[in-house]
Symmetry: C2
Subunit: 334 residues, 2 copies
């Protein structure tokens, strides 16, 4: 294969990012299909460095921490055909005008829903079986914990707020447990609900389940969707999970409900991240706290860059793409 | 319905046990089908109290903590037709000679495998996603934990030691994750393995998986089955789960492997229970410890007595039973 035949690609990812996200096989794949300009720095490019680094590229590969591509950058990038984001949300890295220049946009976001669905299973089971409580008791020298008794997932009721990709993964993982699943999603049709095997429900009905998981998209219309009134609908000893976005849940109301000891919760996302040291969530024994790691798995890390790289190659070959974002969907992205 | 038509049943369970295991509906079911002699005591019957309490019963209902039924008891119990154990292992409550007297034996053991399978899912996911580590870090005021990265269950390799009811439940629950399951079970035929979708394996092969779960039956032949050599086969960062019986695992070898920091583990069963305060397992951050609660769920508690009661009624009607133990299987019971 001759070098001249390959289109130019600029990989903006810093060396630390590449060590995490780009396996030797992925590096080889990129070099097979592109003339690659690698970011050899140990840090991200600055906005000033971006133009000389990437202005002649036909394809741009970006990820978390990559510099935002401004409208002025696109004036320089005359050859650019696509931006491929090896991470989740791409919306804040690009101006909406990107599509007017005929540039196509890819995001590995769909690959990130699988680990988040698995995270939800992890914290559902953790609270159903009181793993944090028992484990703390035994490591502290105790054994039995009076008044504590586990519960089965099988036969329980699960409420899902929104039926996006993560919720659908969760529905699939709940399949062996004969659970009743109530979904609140204004955009879910009766036919889709039937196909998923779930019951279309009001927000109130979904919040009334023993296990409630928030997957609402991060839009202005969903901000504060789950407040004191909604949390009060969770039955006693119910489990509330937020692995989605913090803005949809009224944190003060959740803290009040947790302080009453009435429910259990797991939070992976917070209004402010890193979670402030003085957050009232810290120290409450009935909430599992994790540092926004719902999508953070070894497997997902290594899958993101190949996912968008292979999709760009499909685009180059005129084949149907899998990770491309249509211009019409861009503004509605979470 | 006249009282005379009902056979006599003695329910040995103490009042505290009945409050936990016998719902009002279950009490009514028993009183509909039997003339019930309830143990009105707040404690278990002594061996001496047993004979006058139960000698005229046709059906005996027992559970954890019930007195052992000796051969001499059976000499008194001339009317006895069945013993129904509303709990797991029934072997140690009865002499093997029970069958010679024509008494039939029931155990709710099969109903207890479901919560143990779910327990295994709980601790598998807990370690795959480092829930104990992250949760401890955040509650202690921290946030990110350097060097820690979750893993996905999807696509991983799971080794099961023995293919009993709990392992089969786990196989079913692993179905959504496209895992490769290697099973070590000398009694599992190729055809059964194919039907379960698992790979028949040597003990060494099963122990070489990323996730290994022990379900070996508690028999003299399986004592010490998993020692230092077998544990050493678990890959680095692998997860070892013992929700079965303690005797199958060399605890000193497990402690040594855990102290090296090479693997993660979850133990629900111990050589001595309650776990001694000075157990070397306590305080090791890479082992989840729970107080033999694998089968302990609210749902299972309330299902045990109905399970065997309904089965005894099936026997009375000459219908096929579901929870009965054949004489030939009794000595091989775990």
């Amino acid at each position: 294969m001759t070098t001249q035949a390959k289109p130019k690609a600029a990989v903006l990812l810093s060396q630390p990012k590449l060590r995490r996200l780009c396996s030797p096989a992925c590096r080889q794949y990129l070099e097979t299909h592109f003339e690659v300009h690698w970011n050899e720095r140990e840090r991200e490019l600055s906005a000033e460095e971006l133009v000389p680094f990437a202005e002649d590229a036909a394809y741009l590969f970006t990820s978390w921490g990559s510099p935002r591509l401004s409208e002025s950058f696109f004036k320089h990038a005359a050859e650019l055909r696509a931006v491929a984001h090896a991470a989740g949300s791409v919306k804040f890295f690009l101006p909406a005008s990107v599509f007017e220049a005929g540039v196509r946009v890819f995001s590995a976001n769909p690959r990130l829903s699988l680990p988040v669905s698995e995270y939800c299973m992890a914290v559902i089971f953790a609270w159903l079986r009181h793993i944090p409580t028992y484990n703390a008791a035994l490591h502290a020298g105790g054994y039995r914990v009076p008044g504590l008794k586990g519960r089965e997932l099988t036969g329980s009721r699960v409420g899902l707020i929104s039926a996006g990709a993560t919720a659908r993964g969760l529905i699939r993982m709940l399949q062996p447990y004969e659970v009743e699943i109530r979904v609140y999603d204004p955009f879910l049709s009766e036919a889709q609900a039937r196909q998923l095997g779930v019951i279309p429900s009001t927000l109130e009905e979904a919040m009334g389940c023993t296990i409630v998981s928030n997957h609402a998209p991060n839009l202005p219309e969903t901000a504060g969707l789950i407040g004191a009134e909604q949390l009060a609908r969770i039955p006693d000893e119910g489990i509330f999970i937020n692995s989605g976005r913090a803005a949809q849940v009224d944190t003060a109301a959740l803290v009040a409900e947790l302080k009453s000891g009435r429910i259990y919760a797991a939070c992976d996302v917070f209004d402010e991240e890193p979670l402030p040291v003085d957050s009232p969530l810290r120290g409450l024994a009935n909430v599992i706290l994790t540092p926004h790691v719902g999508a953070a798995t070894q497997q997902a890390d290594l899958a993101l860059l190949p996912a968008v790289a292979e999709d760009v190659v499909r685009m180059m070959r005129g084949e149907p793409t899998r990770f491309e974002i249509a211009a019409a969907d861009f503004s509605r992205l979470a």
